[in-house]
């Protein structure tokens, strides 16, 4: 509608500013990094093994997550049982669970002095070790098995219930149902699931930092960190950053060709009751996954509670710092997402692609790039928290944008003409129509962004000194110092704060919302 008078004029300016900011953050920092990268000749043998390990562990993690998720999703699709809704909630939680908290929980179960090793020792066997590639993959499966389960469950529930009834009336047994109904669905859904998880795992930093390391278990992100932090080799950090971005970009492009499930689809509470298949197999699948997911978190609670009264002042002030970093970052994410979504109404959906650029970009590359751009003028330590706010906001943007943009389009469709015919434009339209109508996705998006930022252990590690540490960084420092009692207590605080922030924002968007 070329001549249509456009609804919100301030969106052009604000949106264009956000687009510029994001381009500087992703491509600009990459450019800065590339400019520095000319000073080194090539990647060393160790760097190449980091590249290989990154791809290998991502592939293994993705395939394992998807394969283990299949029986769990099938059980959830065809069985109604007590606690099913709770399990679905738990399956959604890892997304907003701080990585470093989960790592500590996994250590409490699979570490040298964890439950599993204790049991093995009691049986006279060697304890297991979680450090190394196996720990990295274990943590990645812990985080992505739930995601895979939800996505595959969605696929299962997308098969019309009538087909299962038809299959029953035709006398199909489990094998027939699998062949004619389930396998075709899986063939469609699985590539997207594996792709998404592969992409997530290639940018893994915190897991590799805590559990990996050494020549056999270093990801590219970790190698960037080490080059920057230990060797101060900007050229190498830059080159690795380029490789990381190239991998992300290639994967993002490749995933355009594969239908990637949305993951936020509603209606997972539906069950198609069936009388085929083994109840025992389903019960085992559900019990194992519940145990796998809940035990590490229960360990955090159990081991964290006793230490709570003794938490040091520095941990508490780190927690306070993290809360405002998270709130600021959530606010920034929501403003950017809103500006981009509004601008895309005028300039087309291509604008939104800028918001998704950070999927391919790595926070450490952005951090390194910002350092290269600014270190001559500003003390990097002073920038640690502002940069963390900014980078976390950019990293959360794709998720918030995906929640917000369809809702805004729907709003324009339903009420756009009414608002325009009444002369609602600019701030008045934003204040009277857009913000109140978008409260739910805004609250949800802000909650996601706050929780992600609260738990983030990424770019902050590049700059911060202990006096400016966020809670995840302070927790990591406690872990490396083997002060485990304090670490568990800090982890419990971090876990509680992340979930509370998400709950508060999400709830704020729901209360009294007129539909």
């Amino acid at each position: 509608m070329a001549e249509r008078v456009q609804p919100i004029n301030l969106s052009t300016f604000g949106g264009a500013a956000v687009v510029a900011l994001l381009l500087v953050l992703t491509l600009g920092t990459l450019g800065a990094v590339a400019w520095r990268a000319e000073e080194v000749s090539a990647l060393s043998k160790n760097d190449w093994s980091a590249v290989r390990f990154t791809l290998w562990q991502a592939a293994v993690s993705a395939v394992l997550s998807a394969v283990f998720a299949i029986p769990v999703a099938r059980a959830l699709a065809r069985r109604q049982f007590r606690g099913r809704a709770l399990l679905l909630t738990v399956l959604g939680a890892p997304f907003i669970l701080p990585v470093i908290v989960a790592v500590l929980g996994l250590l409490a179960v699979y570490g040298r002095s964890g439950i599993v090793s204790d049991v093995l020792a009691w049986a006279g066997l060697e304890p297991v070790s979680i450090y190394g590639w196996q720990g990295v993959i274990l943590a990645h499966v812990f985080f992505n098995l739930p995601l895979a389960t939800r996505l595959i469950l969605q696929g299962w529930l997308s098969i019309p219930a009538e087909r299962f009834r038809l299959a029953q009336s035709l006398g199909f047994d489990s094998r027939d149902i699998a062949k004619h109904l389930e396998w075709p669905m899986l063939r469609e859904v699985l590539p997207g699931v594996v792709m998404v998880i592969f992409l997530i795992c290639t940018t893994s930093f915190a897991v590799a930092l805590a559990l990996g390391g050494g020549p056999k278990a270093t990801t590219i992100e970790l190698a960037i960190y080490q080059a920057f932090r230990f060797d101060f080799d900007l050229g190498k950090a830059a080159l690795l950053g380029l490789v990381q971005f190239a991998i992300g970009a290639v994967l993002a492009l490749a995933s355009l060709g594969i239908s990637v499930p949305s993951g936020h689809g509603a209606g997972l509470d539906r069950v198609v009751p069936r009388n085929d298949g083994s109840k025992v197999v389903d019960a085992i699948a559900i019990a194992v996954v519940a145990l796998f997911l809940i035990t590490p978190l229960a360990m955090i609670v159990a081991k964290g509670l006793p230490g709570l009264p003794d938490l040091s002042l520095s941990i508490l002030s780190a927690a306070w710092r993290s809360v405002w970093v998270a709130v600021a970052s959530a606010g920034l994410t929501v403003i950017m997402a809103l500006a981009l979504a509004l601008l895309s109404l005028r300039w087309g959906r291509g604008v939104e692609a800028v918001g998704y650029l950070s999927v391919a970009a790595s926070p450490l590359v952005i951090g390194t790039g910002l350092f290269i751009l600014t270190y001559r003028w500003i003390n990097p330590v002073l920038l640690a928290l502002p940069v963390t706010v900014l980078v976390n906001a950019a990293m959360s943007l794709p998720f918030t944008l995906r929640a917000l943009s369809p809702a805004l389009r729907q709003l324009e469709e339903n009420y756009g003409r009414l608002a325009t015919s009444l002369g609602l434009s600019g701030w008045a339209r934003l204040r009277i129509v857009v913000l109140p109508r978008l409260r739910r996705p805004l609250g949800f998006g802000a909650g996601l962004a706050a929780a992600l930022s609260m738990g983030d252990l990424g770019v902050i590690t590049l700059f911060a000194d202990p006096s400016r540490a966020t809670l995840p960084l302070a927790l990591y420092n406690l872990m490396t110092a083997y002060r485990m009692e304090q670490a568990f207590a800090a982890a419990l605080v971090l876990l509680a704060l992340s979930l509370t922030l998400f709950w508060l924002f999400d709830r704020g968007g729901r209360v009294d919302a007129d539909l």
Binding site: M1, R4, V5, R417, T420, L424, S425, A428, D514, L515
Partner: protein, 231 residues
Amino acid sequence: MLTFDKVEIVQGDFSLTADLLVPAGAKVSVIGPSGAGKSTLLSALAGFVPVTSGRILWNGEDITKAAPADRPLAMVFQDSNLFPHLTVAQNVGLGLKPSLKLSPQQNARVAEALARVGLNGFDDRKPAALSGGQRSRVALARVLLRDKPVMVLDEPFAALGPALRVEMLALMAEIAQERGLTVLMVTHDPKDARQLDGSTILVADGVAHAPVPTGPFLDAPPDVLRAYLGG
């Protein structure tokens, strides 16, 4: 007087021409087969669909390029006439001032308009707490405050039952009469057109025809309309 001066609207394969006059104060039904472009005609008038060529004039003034809110017309949509999160008074108040920063006098005018449509004391309710008929009344109250010479209705009251629809059309016609408004109403039901009892614009085969008196027109409808009306 509303003038469609050799107006042509092209959207992909679809095209519609309109070259006609609507006298001020006329009550015009717009009728025609589905997909013929009834709503498109009104959307072009309201400024939501661009005109490919030709001009739209109100009392000789060219409004073809005017912003939707600046045109001399107030709209009643098929549904979604009210914002669900705003109260009845706020929804009506938008007709006076989009910023909703109303003076005491303006608030009094809102209350007056609500009283006129029979919604005394409904100010603080939300649309969800209203019946379908009451929601339509709120939309009409807002038209009153918009104070525009033309009222444009796109299949209004479509969600209401037959009796309620008759009632709302009567209220709408009454208000138009009091204010001397020109009415253009898209409808798919000849009964609505007969009740409005003015003239009818037939939209069919890519042409919006000049208005003709409704009664005689519907007594002997042209073939394209007869097929649509079903006898």
